[in-house]
Amino acid sequence: MRSAEARAKTVEAAKEDLVGILGVAESLIRFEVLEEPKPGLMGLGGHMALVRGTAIAARAEWVKGYLKGLFQTSGDEAVVVVRQEEDRLQVSVSGDFEWFTGITGESLDALQRVVNSTAQQAEGRGEVEPGDLITIDIGRWRERRYEQLEKEALELAAQAKASGEAIPMKPMSASDRRAVHIALRDYPGIATTSEGEEPARRVVVRPLASDEQASSPERQEMPEGGPEPHE
């Protein structure tokens, strides 16, 4: 990691100097004040502030490098694109990775948990900028999966509303369940809940009685790989 030291009249001025020396934004520098400034007596015996600054990796660059490095280890070339979404850092990996995602997406969820744990540790060591949860898609697997789930969820919602009966879906992973909750969040007259224990936990799509509709209960789940999944 790159670091530098700067001496100036005040700590703030030394920090400003370090931003110039390291050439990165202030938010990407970890500062350590080595010596507080001390005023001397009539210009004698005092000293200036001494601050060390260490450049930390921006979160997006860090995750890009981490995933490229991982797939390089297995001899693969990965193209990694990172996009900041509202509350998450969305990472898309493209390349020939069907062998990785498989059918269930289980390995994708696992990789996502490993990446978030690693990011958390690296943050603790001051190597990477703290920030939002990282979500990973490979070969648009999640994108396609969630489109499919959304379609299914909308069909079930229509059925549940027509019949007045609650419809349980098949057991799914936390990230899949979350996609269903989101798909039906604004569906009028329908509520979704997660029921049962892992690995048989499932979403139930239920019609609301007319007096419940004003305040439809909403259940949000943490995406897989969250720092502290509450399930």
Partner: protein
């Protein structure tokens, strides 16, 4: 497989120079023995074993590509 586990673990721990992996192969069964600094045990295992479980799943994804089964043991 050894290099993949080394890569994943070294990024996770506080003492990357203390990470060692031994790989043994018996037909298509691969066994990986992971050793880390005692202070890093919690980091590779995680709360309720979540990190270790995820590491095993990721390793299996890499191994499955070549039709291998992988087993990872974390040793003290």
């Amino acid at each position: 497989m050894k290099n993949i586990l080394l890569y994943l673990t070294q990024a996770l721990v506080q003492h990357p120079d203390q990470v060692t992996v031994e790989e043994r192969r018996d037909g298509n069964r691969v066994t990986l023995e992971l050793r880390v600094h005692p202070d890093d045990m919690g980091r590779v295992i995680g709360r309720q074993g979540r990190v270790a479980k995820s590491l095993r799943t990721v390793l299996q994804a890499f191994a499955g590509r070549h039709g291998d089964r992988v087993r990872m043991d974390i040793l003290e």
